[in-house]
Assembly symmetry: C2
Homo-oligomer: 314 residues x 2
Amino acid sequence: MSLLTVGTVAFDDIQTPFGHAERVVGGAATYIALAASYFTQPIQLVSVVGDDFPSQTLEQLRMRGVDLSGLQVKEGQKSFFWAGRYSENLNHRDTLETQLNVLADFDPVLPPAFRQPQYVMLGNLTPAVQMRVLAQLDTRPRLIAMDTMNFWMDTAMDELREVIARVDVLTINDEEARQLSGEHSLVKAAKKIHQMGPAHLIIKKGEHGALLFQRHDEAIHGSRIFFAPALPLAEVFDPTGAGDTFAGGFMGYIAATGDLSFENFKRAVIFGSAMASFCVEKFSIDRLLELDEQTIQQRVEQFVHLVNFDAQLA
Amino acid sequence: MSLLTVGTVAFDDIQTPFGHAERVVGGAATYIALAASYFTQPIQLVSVVGDDFPSQTLEQLRMRGVDLSGLQVKEGQKSFFWAGRYSENLNHRDTLETQLNVLADFDPVLPPAFRQPQYVMLGNLTPAVQMRVLAQLDTRPRLIAMDTMNFWMDTAMDELREVIARVDVLTINDEEARQLSGEHSLVKAAKKIHQMGPAHLIIKKGEHGALLFQRHDEAIHGSRIFFAPALPLAEVFDPTGAGDTFAGGFMGYIAATGDLSFENFKRAVIFGSAMASFCVEKFSIDRLLELDEQTIQQRVEQFVHLVNFDAQLA
């Protein structure tokens, strides 16, 4: 089943304790599309790049079933560029530079073939742009997920709330969930965020895993809760794109199965976590270009072993 | 099966965003003994208090099957006292005051009936005192676990390493695992800590759960790994004692079952996590005095629901 995604397709400059990747391919939509492509094709990608973006990467995306007819290529302009540096323990990153370039006046245009998607993943972008994508849909998708970040909470909260009110799944990190809700307890935060619209909230905690909340009146504190750990890795090389990769794996799995039950959402969170665990093993999208179904399935089995226990009382 | 534990029995003064508990009962051995008492009795407790310690608390411990014949009561002296204040989000705490009092020259003496325990839990204490407890044992226990903290890594690393070399299970938090091993990756840290002696390492991550590593040459990076989440709670009232309560639940469950398989260690980690989730719901030991088997079993079932998923590929 087709999945529509909008987000950045960009260049990153990344400094980690393990090395420096200069002007490598990044962008939320790039990671989302590649991760999702292992579960469902085609991926309908809506974004914008300058004429500096490598045709080789575009070809790699096409090879993985990504439909680029919604990708605007602006002649004589430059692609979005972000430079960041991670701390020694990778838990913190500082933005060194942001060049909006083509993103400054990005007006997403959906080709006619993109206007009836069953599944939509809104990558982190200006809320107004996310909204313009939704406004071009002819039909209500079965499931709309969105990612966002604290920057939009600080600068465009009203518009952000409008988009949030229209989606089924919101993916944010724990600090963002606290900021958005004004609650420290993630259980209480989830309850407030459910009231803003999304029946599902996924709180991404990086190396500490992810929590899935589903609005449910009868369950504890108004939510059903599922927890997926992050896989303990000997080497985390570069965390950039992990959250987008998670979202792409999650929505790709949902689109492939077409099953919106809580049981299947749980599996989708595990597959998203598995995809994210690959993403961080190499710089840029390198690891996401070389996977196969068996490798992904083996990684999912590691998650099973990691959390599986027999609860019989002694 | 009997469980021997050594650690502080003390007073705490605790400030959290939710209130101030003045001079309430605390201490590592107190929490360990109470948590373990729900799984196995008697608990043989080795510690020291002054004559200011409330006889009512000692009676509560006896009622829960705690054998206090190894508890020294020092006439005319004061019990160990710790005062701390938690940050707004409970993720950080500052020590405001520490009065060693009776702990300053604590020399643990094991009654003859305490010298052949099958299971030992060394609560956080001066490594030399932990060692003096081990030195008084007539036989090698089936399983020795120990807790410690960064303070001893800073001030008594040589003695700490001697104790660590003699135990089977080490419980520390993630930052302590990194400090002890010099490795940021917890997978690599576990490998190094296994080489120091303990075949099992439990890394306590507070609200982010706990990781169990078992030395195993054939498994990934030299460890079998199990992850237990912390239960997402709407209200965390006071984190004090959560790590000790975890350790007490863990070792109590092991002692009750007598099963040292990895499968049973996983269950023990879940039961320890369940006990810790109760501890934080009220100040001091209050919540640990009012539990019963059914309440604990219901909480364990919440952990099952939290992490259980069916991994069938779509």
